[in-house]
Symmetry: C2
Subunit: 118 residues, 2 copies
Amino acid sequence: MTYLARTKPDERVRARDLAKATDVPPAFLSKIMRALSTSGLLDAQKGHNGGFMLSRPASEIRFIDVLRAVDFQPETDHCLFGLGNCNAQNPCPLHFEWAVLKEQIEHWARSHSLADSD
Amino acid sequence: MTYLARTKPDERVRARDLAKATDVPPAFLSKIMRALSTSGLLDAQKGHNGGFMLSRPASEIRFIDVLRAVDFQPETDHCLFGLGNCNAQNPCPLHFEWAVLKEQIEHWARSHSLADSD
DNA sequence: ATTTCAATGGATTTGCAAATCCATTGACAT
DNA sequence: ATGTCAATGGATTTGCAAATCCATTGAAAT
């Protein structure tokens, strides 16, 4: 996504080229692109001169949007120790420390867009 | 480790009991305990009334020590994008943002000990 | 109309960390 | 001395995300 953010607007990039540029296996990258396309962050075009481009300006795509699209959910309250019943009332030893750090990470992802990666 | 930090000093805990308490598979936990034992954070005792205990007070075992012992190396400069040639001179789009966050995590692990998890 | 090109998406395979198994070692209790 | 118990450590298996494969779909160029 940061790669696409740095290409000219309205210029499509083929999955294959992006794969080469990022050194991610082409077939695997395609899966990721599809997820991003399905969730509306990318606009896909088949055939001649096809490829992918951001579906809206880079400044309007936050990192949290990308994370959500690829199914990473930092906002789910998953215990660092993997305990099922960990919460503020019944905290694991690192519950509050972890909550702070997690909030920092999430806040960063919420307040930064692809445009910040220029 | 935080579990052991909250048991009485000089009281040994068997891997099997710790496995049950933490819901980590016993055989897998044994491997981790061995790593922690080998790197000097745990004192192991075989046989009757054997088990593991912290090899020094909880206040003298930092989280960074535990992380290093189980082979997680937050201080290695691993690019978030997996790029081999990413550094301050040739940064990836998230190099500096990531460096800040990484430093926060590492600083936390350096400045907190198991005693902070009471 | 036909050809070419690139995304789509489901089925399949691979790779490796996670997890298991078990024979061995060493310590304590009796 | 002997039996029991718990860690040790290497070999092996499992599980699942990562990666691959390929037939299909749809779009544009000619």
